[in-house]
Symmetry: C2
Subunit: 232 residues, 2 copies
């Protein structure tokens, strides 16, 4: 089986690992599934070829033997369903792990993304400074609730799962903001995620793509699989 | 098997069907699973008893034989996985239907919820009128992309699925805004969802709860199952 994902040709974050292909790379590394990467230049994101993969013109997408998926949550779940390692075998525990995937994407990430909207997309607007504390209070509320549930546990519900993978990825967006420094239990949770060898490999792979010299050929991945030349 | 969901004791929308328990009721009606409803008063949403069900203090939750789930997407997926009718049997078609659940919740709903933030939560702020067109443009962009993918199809990918159930529910939020009137294909898609008998039963059930006289006992559901007295 050949798995091909898409990623930014050059991520706007310059390789900080915040582009969502990092989440899919991480899941693939956790389960030991080699993959190829089709890099999509910015100018081609909304062109028909990529819109056929994802109607919203975003990365990542996932292709496997005639199946094309989009949406990070769906792709990570698909990987977790087809390989052992990211979802518990017990049916109830599995349902709870899936709940955390949805909680991370539907409840925790939206207020965090509003921080990007406020600081960057609307960073030149006159309301930026007055609106920022409202947005920060909504994030803080969610983080306090998450911290209370996590307690002293290592992961959100038993062993590390796809739910933790997505939640840690969502929280990593907060690193530059200083939020995590005020919540040591949550910061330690994120650090446990980052310390996983599979995350380290995923991070290094996206970094290599995003720090390659201009006009250079695409970088080979540090582990199995090569960056595909398709789409370049 | 007894299924118990939670809903607002009185929904802030007064019974327009926008509270997320409607989505779960709809899924349960589609598969013919009777359910009970525990109504949670506003003052109890962030109390320990409800936080044990949902750490973010929201409705709906789902309880079944010792399993407690939260997050609408996760609950609808759980129902769809355990009963025929909401996910295709073919593995690839099933993965694509699941993708639409995530797309509706992660990509289409967040900008739509920003409309609520702008008009209501921040409705008294001086930036309301200047910010509103930016938020509307983001919604319009997503709706145009969704319309392009839907084309002349009846549903997003083959037969009606849990992906359509969530997408229609997300788009129903736009009814008061006038957005759908400018997008006839999307409006017709939403109308097809609303016309389903299971949606009609779900809508009627939440309406009965939200329009019952003050101090009256909880209303019985129009179909199988009774509103539980627990939590009142």
């Amino acid at each position: 089986m050949t798995v091909t994902i898409t990623a930014f040709d050059r991520s706007p974050d310059g390789g900080k690992g915040l582009a969502r292909d990092t989440r899919v790379r991480w899941a693939l590394e956790e389960v030991g599934q080699p993959y190829e990467v089709r890099l999509v230049p910015w100018a081609e994101m909304k062109q028909p070829e990529h819109l056929a993969r994802n109607p919203f013109g975003q990365i990542p997408t996932y292709e496997e033997d005639g199946l094309t998926l989009f949406e990070t949550g769906s792709i990570v779940f698909h990987i977790a369903e087809r390989h052992p390692g990211l979802l518990p075998a017990d049916a109830d525990a599995r349902a709870r792990a899936i709940t955390w995937i949805f909680a991370a994407l539907s409840t925790v990430e939206p207020p965090i993304l509003e921080l990007v909207t406020t600081k960057i997309v609307e960073g030149d607007k006159p309301w930026r400074d007055d609106r920022l504390p409202l947005v920060e209070a909504r994030i803080r509320n969610r983080l306090d609730q998450l911290t209370a549930r996590l307690g002293d546990a290592e992961w959100l519900d038993g062993a590390f799962s796809a739910g933790d993978l997505i939640m840690v990825s969502v929280l990593l967006r907060l690193k530059p903001s200083g939020f995590l420094a005020t919540l040591p239990k949550l910061a330690a949770y994120v650090a446990r995620g980052e310390a996983r060898p599979a995350y380290q490999r995923a991070f290094a792979a996206q970094l290599a793509v995003n720090t390659r010299p201009a006009d250079s050929p695409p970088c080979p991945r540090p582990t199995a699989g090569l960056v595909s030349a398709q789409g370049l």
